[in-house]
Protein backbone atom coordinates (compact mmCIF):
# COMPACT_ATOMS: atom_id res chain seq x y z
CA UNK A 1 0.00 0.00 0.00
CA UNK A 2 1.51 3.29 -1.10
CA UNK A 3 0.60 6.57 0.51
CA UNK A 4 1.12 10.11 -0.69
CA UNK A 5 1.08 13.10 1.65
CA UNK A 6 -1.67 15.53 0.74
CA UNK A 7 -1.51 18.29 3.30
CA UNK A 8 -0.67 19.14 6.87
CA UNK A 9 -3.69 19.46 9.14
CA UNK A 10 -1.94 20.63 12.32
CA UNK A 11 1.53 21.94 12.99
CA UNK A 12 3.41 21.25 16.21
CA UNK A 13 2.34 24.61 17.59
CA UNK A 14 -1.29 23.99 16.65
CA UNK A 15 -1.24 20.58 18.31
CA UNK A 16 0.02 22.19 21.49
CA UNK A 17 -2.56 24.96 21.47
CA UNK A 18 -5.31 22.47 20.76
CA UNK A 19 -4.28 20.28 23.67
CA UNK A 20 -4.11 23.27 25.98
CA UNK A 21 -7.62 24.23 24.99
CA UNK A 22 -8.88 20.65 25.37
CA UNK A 23 -7.38 20.38 28.86
CA UNK A 24 -9.21 23.52 29.96
CA UNK A 25 -12.41 22.36 28.31
CA UNK A 26 -12.27 18.99 30.08
CA UNK A 27 -11.93 20.58 33.51
CA UNK A 28 -14.53 23.22 32.74
CA UNK A 29 -17.13 20.76 31.47
CA UNK A 30 -16.45 18.42 34.39
CA UNK A 31 -17.06 21.12 36.95
CA UNK A 32 -13.56 20.64 38.30
CA UNK A 33 -11.28 17.64 38.72
CA UNK A 34 -13.22 15.58 41.24
CA UNK A 35 -13.10 11.87 40.38
CA UNK A 36 -11.66 12.83 36.99
CA UNK A 37 -9.27 10.38 35.35
CA UNK A 38 -7.80 10.17 31.87
CA UNK A 39 -7.43 6.89 30.01
CA UNK A 40 -5.04 6.98 27.06
CA UNK A 41 -5.85 4.44 24.36
CA UNK A 42 -2.70 2.79 22.96
CA UNK A 43 -0.80 3.90 21.09
CA UNK A 44 -0.99 7.60 20.53
CA UNK A 45 -3.72 8.25 23.07
CA UNK A 46 -1.10 7.59 25.72
CA UNK A 47 1.23 10.57 25.18
CA UNK A 48 -1.81 12.75 24.50
CA UNK A 49 -3.38 11.83 27.84
CA UNK A 50 -0.09 12.44 29.62
CA UNK A 51 0.21 15.88 28.07
CA UNK A 52 -3.37 16.73 29.01
CA UNK A 53 -2.74 15.67 32.62
CA UNK A 54 0.41 17.78 32.72
CA UNK A 55 -1.49 20.84 31.48
CA UNK A 56 -4.28 20.26 33.97
CA UNK A 57 -1.70 20.02 36.75
CA UNK A 58 -0.15 23.30 35.65
CA UNK A 59 -3.36 25.34 35.83
CA UNK A 60 -5.29 23.52 38.56
CA UNK A 61 -2.50 22.08 40.73
CA UNK A 62 -4.31 18.73 40.63
CA UNK A 63 -2.61 15.55 39.37
CA UNK A 64 -5.41 13.80 37.54
CA UNK A 65 -4.77 10.02 37.40
CA UNK A 66 -3.77 8.69 34.00
CA UNK A 67 -4.20 5.09 32.85
CA UNK A 68 -3.14 3.22 29.73
CA UNK A 69 -5.59 1.00 27.90
CA UNK A 70 -4.68 -1.57 25.26
CA UNK A 71 -7.72 -2.57 23.24
CA UNK A 72 -6.23 -5.45 21.22
CA UNK A 73 -8.16 -8.15 23.07
CA UNK A 74 -11.42 -6.26 22.57
CA UNK A 75 -11.20 -5.64 18.85
CA UNK A 76 -14.05 -6.85 16.65
CA UNK A 77 -11.89 -7.59 13.60
CA UNK A 78 -9.51 -10.21 15.02
CA UNK A 79 -10.83 -13.01 12.85
CA UNK A 80 -10.05 -11.04 9.70
CA UNK A 81 -6.67 -9.61 10.54
CA UNK A 82 -4.40 -12.60 9.84
CA UNK A 83 -1.95 -13.61 12.56
CA UNK A 84 -3.15 -12.26 15.89
CA UNK A 85 -1.95 -8.74 16.64
CA UNK A 86 0.60 -8.42 19.43
CA UNK A 87 -1.05 -7.64 22.78
CA UNK A 88 0.33 -4.86 24.94
CA UNK A 89 -0.24 -4.09 28.59
CA UNK A 90 -3.16 -2.22 30.01
CA UNK A 91 -1.97 -0.26 33.01
CA UNK A 92 -4.69 1.34 35.07
CA UNK A 93 -3.49 1.28 38.65
CA UNK A 94 -6.56 2.91 40.15
CA UNK A 95 -10.12 1.67 40.46
CA UNK A 96 -12.47 2.88 37.71
CA UNK A 97 -15.52 2.38 39.92
CA UNK A 98 -17.45 5.62 40.23
CA UNK A 99 -14.84 7.55 38.28
CA UNK A 100 -15.47 10.28 35.74
CA UNK A 101 -13.37 8.91 32.90
CA UNK A 102 -12.19 10.63 29.76
CA UNK A 103 -10.92 8.29 27.05
CA UNK A 104 -8.19 9.95 25.02
CA UNK A 105 -7.18 8.97 21.50
CA UNK A 106 -5.62 10.64 18.48
CA UNK A 107 -8.27 10.04 15.80
CA UNK A 108 -11.95 9.15 15.96
CA UNK A 109 -12.99 7.35 12.78
CA UNK A 110 -15.43 4.41 12.65
CA UNK A 111 -15.87 4.31 16.40
CA UNK A 112 -14.92 0.64 16.67
CA UNK A 113 -11.79 1.37 18.69
CA UNK A 114 -13.86 3.34 21.19
CA UNK A 115 -16.43 0.54 21.44
CA UNK A 116 -13.57 -1.84 22.21
CA UNK A 117 -12.13 0.64 24.74
CA UNK A 118 -15.43 0.85 26.57
CA UNK A 119 -15.62 -2.95 26.73
CA UNK A 120 -12.15 -2.94 28.22
CA UNK A 121 -13.12 -0.36 30.84
CA UNK A 122 -16.22 -2.27 31.84
CA UNK A 123 -14.08 -5.34 32.51
CA UNK A 124 -12.32 -3.30 35.15
CA UNK A 125 -15.33 -1.93 36.99
CA UNK A 126 -18.21 0.46 36.68
CA UNK A 127 -17.22 4.04 35.84
CA UNK A 128 -19.70 6.76 36.70
CA UNK A 129 -19.28 8.29 33.26
CA UNK A 130 -17.14 7.84 30.16
CA UNK A 131 -16.57 10.68 27.70
CA UNK A 132 -14.25 10.83 24.76
CA UNK A 133 -11.51 13.30 23.89
CA UNK A 134 -9.85 13.11 20.46
CA UNK A 135 -7.39 15.29 18.65
CA UNK A 136 -9.08 14.74 15.27
CA UNK A 137 -12.60 13.64 14.40
CA UNK A 138 -12.52 12.48 10.78
CA UNK A 139 -16.13 11.33 10.43
CA UNK A 140 -17.30 8.04 8.82
CA UNK A 141 -18.77 6.60 11.98
CA UNK A 142 -19.94 2.97 11.77
CA UNK A 143 -21.26 2.88 15.32
CA UNK A 144 -23.26 5.38 17.40
CA UNK A 145 -20.22 6.90 19.12
CA UNK A 146 -19.53 10.61 19.72
CA UNK A 147 -16.66 12.60 21.17
CA UNK A 148 -17.37 15.29 23.77
CA UNK A 149 -13.99 16.96 23.38
CA UNK A 150 -12.70 17.38 19.84
CA UNK A 151 -9.50 19.11 18.77
CA UNK A 152 -10.46 19.54 15.14
CA UNK A 153 -13.10 18.04 12.86
CA UNK A 154 -11.83 17.16 9.40
CA UNK A 155 -13.76 15.93 6.39
CA UNK A 156 -12.03 12.97 4.80
CA UNK A 157 -12.67 10.46 2.07
CA UNK A 158 -12.52 6.68 2.47
CA UNK A 159 -9.11 6.34 0.91
CA UNK A 160 -7.52 9.05 3.04
CA UNK A 161 -5.72 8.42 6.30
CA UNK A 162 -5.18 10.92 9.11
CA UNK A 163 -1.68 10.46 10.50
CA UNK A 164 -1.04 11.97 13.89
CA UNK A 165 2.70 12.09 14.49
CA UNK A 166 3.84 12.75 18.03
CA UNK A 167 7.35 13.35 19.32
CA UNK A 168 7.15 10.56 21.90
CA UNK A 169 6.43 7.90 19.27
CA UNK A 170 7.21 9.25 15.80
CA UNK A 171 10.02 11.68 16.64
CA UNK A 172 8.22 14.40 14.77
CA UNK A 173 5.22 16.49 15.68
CA UNK A 174 2.40 17.19 13.20
CA UNK A 175 -0.87 15.86 11.83
CA UNK A 176 -0.89 14.91 8.16
CA UNK A 177 -3.62 13.96 5.74
CA UNK A 178 -2.32 11.22 3.46
CA UNK A 179 -3.98 9.39 0.60
CA UNK A 180 -3.76 5.74 -0.40
CA UNK A 181 -2.56 5.30 -3.94
CA UNK A 182 -3.28 2.02 -5.74
Amino acid sequence: MRVVEKRQLLSAKEIDRTLQRLAHEIVEKSGGTKDLALIGVRRRGVPLSERLAKTILAFSQVQVPVGILDITLYRDDLSTVGPQPVVHSTNIDFSVDGQDLVLVDDVLYTGRTMRAAMNGLFDLGRPRRIRLCVLIDRGHRELPIEATFVGRTVETSDTEIVEVRLQEIDEEERVMLVDRVS
Binding site: M1, L124, R180
Partner: protein, 317 residues
Amino acid sequence: MLLRPKHLLGIESLTADQILFYLDQSKPFQEFQRHPLKKLATLRGKTVAVAFFESSTRTRISFTTAASRLGADTMALQAESSSLKKGESLIDTVRTLEAMRPDGIVIRHSSSGAPEFVAERLEIPVMNAGDGTHEHPTQALLDALTIRDRKGKLEGWNVTILGDILHSRVARSNIYLLSKFGARITLCGPGMWVPAELETLAPNVRRVSRIEEGLDGADVIIVLRVQSERLHEPGLPAAEYILRYQLTNERLRLARPDALVLHPGPMIRGLEIDPAVADGPQCAVLEQVTNGLAVRMALLYHLIGGAPADAPHPAKE
Protein backbone atom coordinates in the same frame (compact mmCIF):
# COMPACT_ATOMS: atom_id res chain seq x y z
CA MET B 1 11.36 -18.60 10.26
CA LEU B 2 7.88 -17.60 11.48
CA LEU B 3 7.95 -15.75 14.73
CA ARG B 4 4.81 -17.65 15.58
CA PRO B 5 4.86 -21.32 14.58
CA LYS B 6 1.56 -23.02 13.98
CA HIS B 7 1.85 -25.58 16.80
CA LEU B 8 3.44 -25.72 20.20
CA LEU B 9 4.89 -29.19 20.30
CA GLY B 10 8.01 -28.61 22.35
CA ILE B 11 10.68 -26.18 23.41
CA GLU B 12 13.58 -27.90 21.65
CA SER B 13 12.70 -26.49 18.23
CA LEU B 14 11.88 -22.96 19.41
CA THR B 15 14.37 -20.13 19.09
CA ALA B 16 15.19 -17.81 21.98
CA ASP B 17 13.31 -15.04 20.12
CA GLN B 18 10.19 -17.14 19.81
CA ILE B 19 10.36 -17.98 23.50
CA LEU B 20 10.82 -14.33 24.46
CA PHE B 21 7.87 -13.41 22.25
CA TYR B 22 5.61 -15.79 24.16
CA LEU B 23 6.95 -14.61 27.53
CA ASP B 24 6.41 -10.97 26.60
CA GLN B 25 2.92 -11.73 25.37
CA SER B 26 2.15 -13.42 28.68
CA LYS B 27 2.54 -10.13 30.56
CA PRO B 28 -0.77 -8.53 29.53
CA PHE B 29 -2.45 -11.79 30.46
CA GLN B 30 -0.77 -11.73 33.89
CA GLU B 31 -2.35 -8.33 34.45
CA PHE B 32 -5.65 -9.67 33.16
CA GLN B 33 -5.80 -12.18 36.03
CA ARG B 34 -6.23 -9.20 38.39
CA HIS B 35 -9.27 -7.80 36.59
CA PRO B 36 -12.55 -8.05 38.49
CA LEU B 37 -14.18 -9.38 35.32
CA LYS B 38 -12.07 -12.16 33.85
CA LYS B 39 -13.94 -12.82 30.64
CA LEU B 40 -12.95 -11.69 27.18
CA ALA B 41 -14.72 -12.15 23.87
CA THR B 42 -11.45 -12.44 21.98
CA LEU B 43 -11.85 -16.12 21.04
CA ARG B 44 -15.62 -16.12 21.11
CA GLY B 45 -17.05 -18.69 18.74
CA LYS B 46 -13.85 -20.74 18.80
CA THR B 47 -13.74 -24.22 20.30
CA VAL B 48 -10.67 -25.67 21.95
CA ALA B 49 -10.54 -29.42 22.37
CA VAL B 50 -8.82 -30.24 25.66
CA ALA B 51 -7.85 -33.87 25.17
CA PHE B 52 -6.16 -35.41 28.17
CA PHE B 53 -5.24 -39.05 27.80
CA GLU B 54 -3.34 -39.02 31.07
CA SER B 55 -4.92 -37.95 34.30
CA SER B 56 -4.18 -34.43 35.40
CA THR B 57 -6.30 -31.99 37.29
CA ARG B 58 -4.13 -28.89 37.52
CA THR B 59 -2.89 -28.59 33.95
CA ARG B 60 -6.27 -29.51 32.54
CA ILE B 61 -8.06 -26.91 34.67
CA SER B 62 -5.42 -24.35 33.77
CA PHE B 63 -5.92 -24.86 30.02
CA THR B 64 -9.69 -25.00 30.30
CA THR B 65 -9.78 -21.81 32.36
CA ALA B 66 -7.41 -20.08 29.95
CA ALA B 67 -9.60 -20.94 26.97
CA SER B 68 -12.75 -19.98 28.81
CA ARG B 69 -11.39 -16.61 29.95
CA LEU B 70 -10.56 -15.83 26.34
CA GLY B 71 -14.21 -16.50 25.53
CA ALA B 72 -13.67 -19.80 23.77
CA ASP B 73 -15.71 -22.91 24.33
CA THR B 74 -13.95 -26.10 25.35
CA MET B 75 -14.52 -29.73 24.49
CA ALA B 76 -13.22 -31.84 27.33
CA LEU B 77 -11.98 -35.26 26.36
CA GLN B 78 -10.62 -37.31 29.20
CA ALA B 79 -9.60 -40.83 28.55
CA GLU B 80 -7.01 -42.87 30.29
CA SER B 81 -5.41 -45.00 27.68
CA SER B 82 -3.62 -48.26 28.26
CA SER B 83 -0.07 -47.93 27.03
CA LEU B 84 -0.45 -51.17 25.11
CA LYS B 85 -2.88 -49.66 22.63
CA LYS B 86 -0.76 -46.57 21.90
CA GLY B 87 -0.94 -45.97 18.16
CA GLU B 88 -4.32 -47.43 17.46
CA SER B 89 -6.48 -45.67 19.97
CA LEU B 90 -4.84 -42.36 19.17
CA ILE B 91 -5.74 -42.62 15.48
CA ASP B 92 -9.33 -43.39 16.37
CA THR B 93 -9.55 -40.48 18.73
CA VAL B 94 -7.94 -38.12 16.26
CA ARG B 95 -10.59 -39.04 13.71
CA THR B 96 -13.35 -38.45 16.22
CA LEU B 97 -11.92 -35.07 17.09
CA GLU B 98 -11.68 -34.09 13.46
CA ALA B 99 -15.33 -34.87 13.00
CA MET B 100 -16.24 -32.42 15.76
CA ARG B 101 -14.18 -29.66 14.10
CA PRO B 102 -12.53 -27.82 16.98
CA ASP B 103 -10.35 -24.78 16.18
CA GLY B 104 -7.42 -26.10 18.15
CA ILE B 105 -6.44 -28.97 20.35
CA VAL B 106 -4.55 -29.18 23.62
CA ILE B 107 -3.31 -32.70 24.15
CA ARG B 108 -1.68 -34.60 26.98
CA HIS B 109 -0.73 -38.18 26.31
CA SER B 110 1.39 -40.84 27.94
CA SER B 111 3.22 -41.53 24.67
CA SER B 112 6.13 -39.32 23.72
CA GLY B 113 5.48 -37.90 20.27
CA ALA B 114 1.69 -38.14 20.40
CA PRO B 115 1.11 -34.38 19.85
CA GLU B 116 3.35 -34.43 16.79
CA PHE B 117 1.48 -37.49 15.52
CA VAL B 118 -1.77 -35.57 15.87
CA ALA B 119 -0.35 -32.38 14.33
CA GLU B 120 0.66 -34.33 11.23
CA ARG B 121 -2.90 -35.53 10.73
CA LEU B 122 -5.06 -32.54 11.57
CA GLU B 123 -5.29 -29.10 10.00
CA ILE B 124 -5.75 -27.31 13.30
CA PRO B 125 -3.09 -25.99 15.73
CA VAL B 126 -1.91 -28.46 18.35
CA MET B 127 -0.58 -27.60 21.81
CA ASN B 128 1.39 -30.14 23.77
CA ALA B 129 0.28 -30.30 27.43
CA GLY B 130 2.79 -33.05 28.19
CA ASP B 131 3.73 -36.11 26.16
CA GLY B 132 5.24 -39.14 27.84
CA THR B 133 8.71 -38.34 29.09
CA HIS B 134 9.38 -36.04 26.15
CA GLU B 135 8.27 -32.42 26.69
CA HIS B 136 5.93 -30.16 28.67
CA PRO B 137 6.51 -26.85 26.90
CA THR B 138 3.97 -24.70 28.72
CA GLN B 139 5.50 -25.71 32.06
CA ALA B 140 8.94 -24.58 30.90
CA LEU B 141 7.49 -21.31 29.64
CA LEU B 142 5.71 -20.55 32.89
CA ASP B 143 8.84 -21.50 34.84
CA ALA B 144 10.86 -19.12 32.65
CA LEU B 145 8.33 -16.34 33.20
CA THR B 146 8.51 -16.91 36.96
CA ILE B 147 12.30 -16.85 36.90
CA ARG B 148 12.38 -13.67 34.84
CA ASP B 149 9.85 -11.92 37.08
CA ARG B 150 11.41 -12.96 40.37
CA LYS B 151 15.06 -12.66 39.47
CA GLY B 152 14.87 -9.77 37.02
CA LYS B 153 16.26 -11.61 34.01
CA LEU B 154 16.30 -15.02 32.35
CA GLU B 155 19.89 -15.29 31.20
CA GLY B 156 22.92 -16.94 32.72
CA TRP B 157 21.64 -18.53 35.93
CA ASN B 158 22.94 -21.60 37.71
CA VAL B 159 19.97 -23.92 37.63
CA THR B 160 19.73 -27.14 39.62
CA ILE B 161 17.07 -29.68 38.78
CA LEU B 162 16.49 -32.03 41.66
CA GLY B 163 14.92 -35.48 41.51
CA ASP B 164 13.86 -38.02 38.91
CA ILE B 165 15.19 -36.35 35.78
CA LEU B 166 15.02 -39.49 33.65
CA HIS B 167 11.24 -39.73 33.70
CA SER B 168 10.56 -36.00 33.71
CA ARG B 169 9.27 -34.14 30.67
CA VAL B 170 9.26 -31.01 32.81
CA ALA B 171 13.00 -31.40 33.31
CA ARG B 172 13.64 -31.88 29.60
CA SER B 173 11.66 -28.86 28.52
CA ASN B 174 13.34 -26.74 31.17
CA ILE B 175 16.77 -27.98 30.12
CA TYR B 176 16.05 -27.04 26.49
CA LEU B 177 14.65 -23.64 27.40
CA LEU B 178 17.10 -22.45 30.00
CA SER B 179 20.15 -23.59 28.04
CA LYS B 180 19.00 -21.37 25.16
CA PHE B 181 19.49 -18.52 27.63
CA GLY B 182 22.94 -19.49 28.82
CA ALA B 183 22.03 -21.36 31.99
CA ARG B 184 24.50 -23.68 33.62
CA ILE B 185 22.43 -26.69 34.51
CA THR B 186 23.12 -29.19 37.26
CA LEU B 187 21.10 -32.40 37.35
CA CYS B 188 21.01 -33.91 40.81
CA GLY B 189 19.35 -37.09 41.96
CA PRO B 190 19.79 -40.80 42.55
CA GLY B 191 22.12 -42.36 39.99
CA MET B 192 19.53 -44.48 38.21
CA TRP B 193 17.36 -41.39 37.63
CA VAL B 194 20.18 -39.23 36.29
CA PRO B 195 21.87 -41.23 33.52
CA ALA B 196 24.81 -39.90 31.52
CA GLU B 197 22.82 -39.35 28.30
CA LEU B 198 21.04 -36.40 29.94
CA GLU B 199 24.26 -34.41 29.70
CA THR B 200 23.92 -34.47 25.92
CA LEU B 201 20.53 -32.74 25.89
CA ALA B 202 22.08 -29.28 25.85
CA PRO B 203 25.40 -27.56 26.36
CA ASN B 204 26.52 -26.82 29.93
CA VAL B 205 24.68 -29.67 31.62
CA ARG B 206 26.37 -31.69 34.36
CA ARG B 207 25.29 -34.41 36.75
CA VAL B 208 26.02 -34.74 40.44
CA SER B 209 24.74 -37.28 42.88
CA ARG B 210 25.11 -35.50 46.22
CA ILE B 211 22.57 -32.80 46.99
CA GLU B 212 25.17 -30.70 48.78
CA GLU B 213 27.16 -30.51 45.58
CA GLY B 214 24.04 -30.00 43.52
CA LEU B 215 22.84 -26.99 45.49
CA ASP B 216 26.18 -25.24 45.88
CA GLY B 217 25.91 -21.88 44.10
CA ALA B 218 22.46 -22.53 42.67
CA ASP B 219 20.37 -19.49 41.68
CA VAL B 220 17.30 -21.49 40.70
CA ILE B 221 16.27 -24.88 42.06
CA ILE B 222 13.59 -26.88 40.28
CA VAL B 223 12.31 -29.61 42.58
CA LEU B 224 10.68 -32.47 40.75
CA ARG B 225 7.84 -34.54 42.06
CA VAL B 226 8.76 -38.07 43.02
CA GLN B 227 6.32 -40.39 41.35
CA SER B 228 5.16 -42.85 43.99
CA GLU B 229 5.43 -45.81 41.58
CA ARG B 230 9.16 -45.18 41.35
CA LEU B 231 9.65 -45.50 45.09
CA HIS B 232 8.70 -49.15 44.95
CA GLU B 233 11.43 -49.88 42.47
CA PRO B 234 14.32 -51.65 44.12
CA GLY B 235 17.00 -49.46 45.60
CA LEU B 236 15.22 -46.32 46.76
CA PRO B 237 12.63 -46.38 49.51
CA ALA B 238 10.98 -43.09 50.43
CA ALA B 239 12.89 -42.75 53.69
CA GLU B 240 16.16 -42.89 51.86
CA TYR B 241 15.07 -40.40 49.22
CA ILE B 242 14.10 -38.00 51.98
CA LEU B 243 17.40 -38.50 53.72
CA ARG B 244 19.48 -37.92 50.62
CA TYR B 245 17.46 -35.55 48.43
CA GLN B 246 14.73 -33.73 50.31
CA LEU B 247 15.07 -29.97 49.96
CA THR B 248 15.17 -28.60 53.50
CA ASN B 249 15.91 -25.07 54.67
CA GLU B 250 19.29 -26.24 55.89
CA ARG B 251 20.18 -27.56 52.45
CA LEU B 252 18.67 -24.50 50.77
CA ARG B 253 21.24 -22.40 52.60
CA LEU B 254 23.93 -24.07 50.51
CA ALA B 255 22.50 -22.34 47.46
CA ARG B 256 22.78 -18.60 46.72
CA PRO B 257 21.02 -16.50 49.37
CA ASP B 258 18.27 -15.39 47.00
CA ALA B 259 17.88 -18.73 45.24
CA LEU B 260 14.46 -19.32 43.73
CA VAL B 261 12.65 -22.60 44.42
CA LEU B 262 10.26 -23.89 41.76
CA HIS B 263 8.11 -27.02 41.69
CA PRO B 264 5.88 -28.11 38.79
CA GLY B 265 3.37 -29.57 41.24
CA PRO B 266 1.68 -31.29 42.78
CA MET B 267 4.06 -31.17 45.72
CA ILE B 268 4.29 -33.99 48.19
CA ARG B 269 5.11 -32.13 51.38
CA GLY B 270 7.58 -34.05 53.45
CA LEU B 271 8.85 -36.11 50.55
CA GLU B 272 10.81 -34.20 47.94
CA ILE B 273 10.30 -30.88 49.72
CA ASP B 274 10.19 -29.86 53.36
CA PRO B 275 6.94 -27.99 54.12
CA ALA B 276 8.96 -25.15 55.62
CA VAL B 277 10.65 -24.59 52.24
CA ALA B 278 7.38 -24.99 50.34
CA ASP B 279 5.79 -22.28 52.46
CA GLY B 280 8.90 -20.15 52.62
CA PRO B 281 9.63 -16.87 50.81
CA GLN B 282 11.98 -18.39 48.25
CA CYS B 283 9.39 -20.79 46.90
CA ALA B 284 7.31 -19.48 44.00
CA VAL B 285 4.82 -22.31 43.39
CA LEU B 286 1.70 -20.17 43.64
CA GLU B 287 3.14 -17.64 41.20
CA GLN B 288 3.92 -20.53 38.90
CA VAL B 289 0.25 -21.45 38.87
CA THR B 290 -0.89 -17.89 38.12
CA ASN B 291 1.78 -17.53 35.48
CA GLY B 292 0.67 -20.83 33.97
CA LEU B 293 -2.75 -19.35 33.31
CA ALA B 294 -1.22 -16.25 31.71
CA VAL B 295 1.16 -18.26 29.51
CA ARG B 296 -1.61 -20.57 28.33
CA MET B 297 -3.89 -17.64 27.54
CA ALA B 298 -1.12 -15.99 25.53
CA LEU B 299 -0.48 -19.21 23.61
CA LEU B 300 -4.14 -19.93 22.92
CA TYR B 301 -4.61 -16.33 21.79
CA HIS B 302 -1.78 -16.57 19.28
CA LEU B 303 -2.20 -20.14 18.09
CA ILE B 304 -5.96 -20.28 17.81
CA GLY B 305 -8.23 -17.67 16.34
CA GLY B 306 -7.32 -15.09 13.78
CA ALA B 307 -7.56 -15.65 10.10
CA PRO B 308 -5.36 -18.17 8.31
CA ALA B 309 -1.93 -16.88 7.27
CA ASP B 310 -3.06 -16.06 3.73
CA ALA B 311 -6.08 -13.93 4.69
CA PRO B 312 -5.99 -10.37 3.32
CA HIS B 313 -4.97 -7.66 5.78
CA PRO B 314 -7.42 -4.83 6.30
CA ALA B 315 -6.25 -1.43 5.03
CA LYS B 316 -6.44 0.36 8.42
CA GLU B 317 -3.52 0.20 10.84
